[in-house]
């Protein structure tokens, strides 16, 4: 098994991701971890809420993993996303990639998070000190 995809309303388990990625034939691993930041565009954020269209999001995440395995010289990839309410410092997303050499791991990891933000049907609502907003909804 070369890819592992998960959407969860519980905290994401980085050790589970690492156990999946670590392998005898890997010399390099890259992990991208998104965390909830305390501010956006100069405004304080109190917390976030993530909603997904889960069945479709899983399919889109699998497409990203398949494309990464095809386009980059990597051995395995995991894409985990959390949904529900998240506080500052909590982790909405983890992407792990394993490869023989480091350049492919970096490139594939970056490709995966960039594409996830463009195609996967997951929506983030920011709760600011003065109100709330669905991120990127409006021009």
């Amino acid at each position: 098994m070369r890819k592992k995809i998960k959407i969860s309303s519980s905290p994401l388990n980085l050790n589970e991701v690492i156990r999946f990625i670590r392998a005898d034939e890997n010399g390099a691993e890259d992990y991208f971890i998104g965390t909830v930041r305390n501010a956006t565009k100069g405004e304080s954020v109190t917390h976030l809420f993530f909603e997904s269209y889960e069945a479709m999001a899983i399919k889109e995440m699998e497409k990203i993993a398949d494309r990464a395995l095809e386009q980059f010289d990597i051995n395995n990839i995991a894409i985990y996303h959390r949904v529900g309410e998240l506080k500052i410092q909590e982790v909405p997303v983890i992407i792990g990639v394993g490869s023989a050499h480091r350049v492919a791991a970096f490139d594939a990891c970056r490709f995966a998070i960039d594409t996830l933000k463009e195609t996967v049907p997951i929506w983030k609502k920011e709760f600011l000190e003065n109100g709330e907003v669905w991120v990127s909804a409006h021009p």
Binding site: F50, Y53, M56, A137, H138
Partner: protein, 78 residues
């Protein structure tokens, strides 16, 4: 035809789904027009994609009653 709503489209419509008369939405493009005409706030969104059976669909895609259809406002995961 039942249309699922997510994110800001759920807030605009005020419900997790929307019932659309099938004869008013024979294609994905017609469905978008119907939704925008009924909920003008939808026109203010940066984009409004439509998924059919959990895949992004183009405007000329024809809809049938058994399709699983969903409104996909601009995504913001990660």
């Amino acid at each position: 035809m039942k249309v699922l709503t997510f994110g800001i489209t759920k807030d605009i419509i005020g419900s997790r789904s929307l019932e659309v008369p099938s004869n008013l939405a024979l294609t994905v493009g017609e469905l978008r027009q119907y939704v925008i005409s009924k909920y003008p706030k939808m026109e203010k969104l940066k984009s409004l994609a439509i998924a059919v059976n959990e895949e992004y669909a183009t405007d000329d895609k024809r809809l049938i009653e058994s399709d699983v259809v969903a409104l996909i406002p601009p995504v913001s995961g990660g």
